[in-house]
Symmetry: C2
Subunit: 162 residues, 2 copies
Amino acid sequence: MKSKLDKIDFKILEILQNDCRITTKKLAERLNLSSTPVFERIKKLEKEGFIDKYVAILNERKIGLKQTIFIGVKLKGHTRSYLQNFLKQVNSFEEVTECYQVSGNFDFLVKIVIADIDAYETFVQTKLSLISEIGNVHSYIAIKKGKNTTHLDLSFLKDSLE
Amino acid sequence: MKSKLDKIDFKILEILQNDCRITTKKLAERLNLSSTPVFERIKKLEKEGFIDKYVAILNERKIGLKQTIFIGVKLKGHTRSYLQNFLKQVNSFEEVTECYQVSGNFDFLVKIVIADIDAYETFVQTKLSLISEIGNVHSYIAIKKGKNTTHLDLSFLKDSLE
DNA sequence: GGTGAAAACATCTTCAA
DNA sequence: TTGAAGATGTTTTCACC
């Protein structure tokens, strides 16, 4: 079951990363294949876990989520339970979209997408600051958005494809 | 054309954020409506820009992208052209999935998703370090992943819905 | 690995209520 | 707005290469 990807799988993933609502038929046309093998390949890619899910990407600004903020967090201690407790709590916050334990002068980097600065202050006061494991934090408030994509660069695969 | 969202739109967005391949029919069943109004609402949400796109989310680890790295960047100068040149170049790198100009002790935060540390070093040497506007950088290498989602928290809308 | 045809299912229009 | 119905297109299976 641990199959390698070939060039066709690669192209399918590339296309689905940009538009997952394309029909199997159209996808097959773009690959010069019939629907059947494309359909089966997609099912295989889903089943084997290369594709996690299919989602709608919403327009943050349009919805009213105008602020993105990164928070660098340093914990008070670094025992296993400190790390686990912190992660469990921070992951439970709906406003948090990403959280990574990192090397460097922070223990964690946390990304928040939230309505505005007022909502952020409320979030810090009513949620974040209640996590007792936190030592100190540094906020990086996004003042301009550059790139923000879910598209992963698969070009590194090109050489290793069967 | 600038219509507000109501509770049904809100629920549709919630569902599509988690699974955009659900059929209109099933979505309508979950909302206790017929297909027609649900279909029309989705088209409206797309047309008015609440929904940006529909994408497949790939499994980074499975694909072979094992490293996530955040880079805090300080530029040499802060004129308009410095900022624009930096953004233009960094946005063009396929390995970069996010980039924000931020307040705080960095000018920019950049997120990289890449195969491994070796590939990261190559990236820095052959791409990042060629951006002449960069003063200095600090890398935060993710050593453990917490949350990583495209799901936005819409609960803040609940009170303002028509 | 692949094709092409056919059945099952979903979409999208139209229309009357 | 709804719901039903029909034309069209898509998904999925199957027999075969």
